[in-house]
């Protein structure tokens, strides 16, 4: 089976910032959470995938095809949602639907779109400029899911949304992924959301992809505990991912495989891993 996303030696320079070289393979049928701090290169990667930016070097394959060879017909298999809905604000829901019907031709699924609009209770008569941010993002997602795409790319699509709407969005993503031919790459700051839905976590830091691993394996690899300074001194330096000093010693994230098995470690979250890795590096 072809991979959904294949990046080989992908590199892009933007002023002082350099993304990559990145090698990343995303198998079909999974949700990948693409995490990293602000300015790490998440949006740049997604823009490169969507041909909004041109790479300085490297190859990008989506659904087994080099994106430079993509025809308009092939592009119908890719759906995307950005951090806002980039459509003229004077469009009503009907205008948006007509526009997409003409844009996607036979691939456009009126029934799916109408069902999603009804599910989100989006108003028919208002123009987009009168939509709340949550409504705009719901509309963006409804549009993305209404043309039978096989790959869905989301760039900070849930940021700034209230927990109820975010939950609706996550439900929709889980429904979409029920088809094993479908794949999702979602970049987000809200790591608790990714914790709920992602199969894999890809972590990018300062333009470099540090890892891409299954979420379960990832959280099993690390553990958190509080140690005194004396106890910390006995721990192998290689085992320490990051630490936070406190009044009585230090809270430390450790690699389970490199510490004695009798040392009690608490389970970590994806957020812990990201925070400790970034802060650990700074120290």
């Amino acid at each position: 089976m072809q991979n959904a996303i294949e990046l080989q030696g992908l590199k892009k320079r933007l002023g002082n910032f350099v993304l990559g070289p990145i090698d990343l393979t995303v198998p079909r049928g999974c949700i990948v959470g693409y995490i990293g701090e602000n300015g790490a290169g998440k949006s740049t990667t997604i823009k490169l995938l969507l041909n909004l930016m041109i790479p300085d070097q490297g190859e990008i394959k989506l659904l087994g095809k080099d994106i430079r060879e993509f025809t308009p017909q092939m592009k119908k298999d890719i759906a995307y949602v950005f951090d806002d809905l980039y459509l003229p604000e004077d469009m009503t829901l009907k205008n948006v639907q007509n526009f997409h019907r003409k844009l996607y031709g036979q691939a456009w699924q009126d029934k799916t779109f109408s069902e999603l609009i009804a599910r989100f209770s989006l108003p028919n008569n208002k123009t987009i400029k009168h939509f709340s941010r949550g409504m705009r993002m719901q509309l963006g997602l409804a549009l993305a899911l209404s043309h039978g795409a096989k790959l869905l790319l989301l760039d900070e699509a849930t940021s700034g949304l209230d927990p109820v709407i975010r939950d609706d969005v996550l439900d929709l993503l889980l429904e979409y992924i029920q088809n094993e031919d479908h794949t999702i790459l979602v970049s987000s700051h809200i790591l608790s959301d990714l914790e709920k839905v992602a199969d894999y976590i890809a972590f990018i830091h300062k333009g470099q992809l540090l890892f891409m691993e299954t979420k379960d394996e990832l959280v099993d690899q690390y553990g958190i505990t509080s140690l005194s300074k004396e106890q910390l001194a006995e721990i192998d330096d290689k085992a320490i991912v990051g630490k936070r000093p406190h009044q009585f010693g230090v809270e430390v994230m450790l690699k389970r495989s490199l510490v004695p098995s009798d040392l009690e470690l608490e389970r970590v979250s994806v957020e812990d891993i990201m925070v400790y890795m970034i802060k650990g590096e700074r120290k």
Binding site: L50, M53, K75, P88, E89, D90, F99, L103, A107
Partner: protein, 211 residues
Amino acid sequence: MIALIYKDLVALRKALFSLIFIMFIVGFLTVRQGNIMTLPLMFILVPLILLGMLWGSDTKSNVDQYIIPGPVTRRTIVFSRYVFVWIVAVIGTLFTILLKLFLRDGILLEIPWYLIAVTMPLLITIISVIQLPLMYKFGAEKARLIFVVLYFVVFALFSYIGSNKELIAKFMDKLILLDLKIIGLAIMGVTILLNIISFALSTAIYTKKEF
């Protein structure tokens, strides 16, 4: 392509109604004053006004970022903008020919219909074909600044022509000797050539553009 034109029409819906209303009023006034030639010349300004509005709307909504990954090529996106200008050119030309058919006097009666049919597209598209590549390269704001400079250049050119009337007279003497159909063909050729060059330039610029 149809989707992109539809998007542009929706974005300009209110502006188009206002523009048509203003054109009716200006038309009514010019007919009353007997200055009928102002009517077709108004069409020269229409693409200029509409393109400015479209650019404003597109920049505000960031719509390029939405449509480029969609099922269209960048070339089609640029092409749709030219089609918009050409639609205005066709409407303006047909309007002028109809005006000629229904007029009983005036300068339009003296100009053969085929000369109108080739001159109006040139007049209506000429500013847009210069403006579009500039807008794609520098954005609407900087392109407007460049256009202000261009206005001064044109003004200086007309001043030069004004002070060298004998040159124009000589040129007109030679032009009168030519067959009007040949002149018409030349105008058509220039219009097509300018539009092709402009479209090629805009496409080349837009293809390399990053969002």
